[in-house]
């Protein structure tokens, strides 16, 4: 410790390449776009300075309000599902599976690696009501309920999106959380057992607190990823019907590149970044841990 681990030349050598790429690819373009948000125009025609006009528009634009609400709703609901299902699956892997453990874990993880286009197509067909009744609606029919046009309403489409993204990502969170659970020393569990803790109480009072760090890490990662959702909804129904299931990120993309209003689009992107920041800080605050120690 000391001298060698503070070797300046080594630090620069280790850190510089990554830092250069990171600054060049992420930081500079972000700052550049932030500058754009004070302008109005297109790449082809050039930009004119408009001060805070784009940000003022953020306040008044009803679509921003709608998409913001949807994005937060989506992220919160999905994150809760992801963590809960992931945790339950992790417990399942831990306590109830033996020979099948690796196989099941692999299978459940597999949807994570599928192309978004494929998953969206799949779910479009699963929940279809025209031209044929899809499997889900067939089951409803069997139960005596009239088939539902899931994609016709914002609520129905929201349900499909949540199910789709949960199917796709549950395996990832399950494995991530499983990694944290497995790490809990079995001695601690045994001694808790001997003390009389069992079943649900074991989970609630021993396992849960000990796995808190990995849960926090998963929540932070998940929150940022979910707030920035784009691919899956675009591929499924393009944020329809109308803009009922359009997340902020998709609206920003449409504004910048479809409606040729790059300045306003950048302002919306700033909003997304702020949202992620606020969310992350809130999670940290409530878990009362510093970033450096978080995981």
């Amino acid at each position: 410790m000391g001298h060698i681990l503070s070797n300046r030349r080594a630090i620069v050598l280790f850190l510089a390449p990554a830092l250069v790429v990171y600054v060049g690819v992420i930081v500079v373009p972000s700052a550049w776009s932030l500058v754009y948000s004070f302008f109005k125009g297109t790449p082809a025609l050039g930009f004119q300075y408009v001060g805070f006009a784009n940000f003022a528009k953020l306040w008044t634009d009803p679509t921003v309000r709608q998409t913001l609400l949807f994005t937060v709703k989506y992220a919160v609901v999905l994150l809760i599902c992801q963590i809960v299902f992931g945790y339950l699956l992790a417990l399942f892997y831990l306590f109830f599976l033996r020979r099948l453990s690796t196989l099941i874990r692999t299978l459940v993880f597999f949807p994570v690696v599928l192309p978004p286009v494929a998953v969206a197509l799949l779910f479009n067909k699963l929940f279809a009501v025209a031209p044929q009744i899809g499997p889900v609606n067939s089951v409803l029919q069997l139960l005596g309920i009239t088939p539902v046009d899931w994609f016709a309403t914002g609520t129905g489409a929201f349900a499909v999106i949540i199910v789709m993204d949960l199917w796709r990502s549950a395996g990832f969170y399950a494995v991530l959380l499983y990694a944290g659970l497995v790490d809990i020393s079995s001695d601690v569990i045994e001694s808790a057992r001997i003390d009389g803790a069992s079943g649900v109480r074991l989970v609630r009072h021993i396992i849960l607190p000990l796995s808190k760090p990995i849960v926090i890490a998963s929540v932070i990662f998940g929150l940022n990823a979910d707030l920035k959702v784009f691919d899956s909804i675009l591929a499924l129904n393009n944020g329809g019907p109308g803009t009922a299931t359009t997340p902020l990120n998709l609206y920003m993309f449409q504004t910048s590149f479809l409606y040729s209003d790059y300045g306003y689009g950048s302002a919306i992107a700033m909003l997304i970044t702020v949202l992620c920041l606020v969310g992350t800080v809130l999670v940290f605050r409530s878990s009362r841990q510093r970033v450096g120690e978080a995981v």
């Binding site: 060698i4 990171y22 690819v25 776009s33 949807p111 286009v117 494929a118 995981v295």
Partner: protein
């Protein structure tokens, strides 16, 4: 003193749910038929859950595979879960040609592998410097890099396009590779720093005392200790680059530079038609290939994920 190394795990999986322990140890207090019935019903419950999981996970993939053999009107007229009339491989050859899957696959593989290797190299080196080494300001820089997690991709597309154009590299795969590397660094640095943190500091201190320099410590002590973390991240990065669509679309200037994800878009018609059969065939090919890669590194990674501890 524990005799197991930091990466060996005493398999927690051998633990059982409390009631079972009681039953197995043979103490049958207060229960006569109880334990057997309880165990049987629980076994059944577990098996049912496993069956449900298998159906939920496998059926969709099975559907994609069988549907890829259907003809276009079967999609519109026959029920969705029906088996195809003929197992006609025409869709597959159409897929290969329309999507230009051969070239696309080559491009995807090149871009993904190169990006992955560079991300891991740069990321673990940076994480080492930020976590293991000691200097002022390291926490701030770490936060600075992790902040990149919050930046949406769309924000950086336009400036990057301009930069690459001005550098004159926009007619190659370089824009894709460089962008993916930049995007992958925040998460990689974050997680690698975590894994490095779990390595006992004594190991590094011992290495430092041995002499031989920091680089030796990094390569012979640091990296091997986080080997499984590297594999985990490798897989994560591989698939996030492999499945990316937006960046590939933006910087795609020639058909010969498309990636697989861009190629999959070739099945859409001008007025909104979609050739489902060939599209599903292309997806099946991609899934099959992905599965092979996945199976190959999966063993390693599953072990890695359970051993790359994320203690707080």
């Amino acid at each position: 003193m524990a005799t197991t190394g930091p990466n060996e795990v005493r398999p927690l999986g051998r633990l059982t749910w409390p009631e079972e322990t009681t039953a197995r140890s043979g103490r049958r207090k207060r229960r006569t038929q109880g334990p057997d019935l309880a165990r049987l019903s629980r076994r059944t419950l577990i098996n049912i859950l496993v069956a449900i999981i298998l159906v939920v996970e496998i059926y969709p993939l099975f559907w994609i595979l069988t549907s890829s053999f259907k003809s276009q009107d079967e999609f519109s007229t026959a029920p969705l879960w029906s088996m195809p009339q003929h197992f006609d491989f025409g869709n597959y050859s159409a897929a290969w040609l329309t999507a230009n899957l051969g070239t696309d696959a080559l491009n995807s593989i090149t871009v993904t592998l190169v990006s992955m290797v560079v991300i891991l190299a740069l990321g673990s080196a940076a994480a080492f410097a930020l976590e293991v080494m000691v200097w002022r300001g390291q926490n701030s820089i770490l936060l600075f890099v992790i902040g990149g997690l919050m930046v949406p991709t769309q924000l950086i597309l336009l400036p990057l396009f301009t930069i690459y154009f001005k550098l004159g590299i926009n007619n190659s795969l370089l824009p894709l590779i460089i962008t993916y590397i930049g995007q992958g660094l925040p998460l990689t640095v974050f997680l690698m720093a975590t894994y490095f943190r779990s390595v006992p500091r004594e190991l590094f201190e011992a290495c430092a005392l041995d002499g031989g320099g920091v680089f030796r410590c990094f390569f012979s002590v640091g990296l091997p200790m986080v080997r499984n973390g590297i594999f985990t991240l490798g897989m994560l990065m591989f698939f996030s680059v492999w499945n990316d669509l937006l960046v590939a679309l933006t910087f795609n200037s020639k058909p010969s530079l498309s990636t697989i994800q861009v190629g999959l878009l070739n099945f859409n018609g001008q007025y909104g038609q979609v050739e489902y059969g060939p599209l599903l065939a292309a997806i099946s090919i991609v899934i099959f290939a992905t599965f092979i890669v996945y199976a190959l590194i999966n063993q390693r990674v599953m072990r890695g994920l359970t051993a790359g501890s994320v203690k707080g």
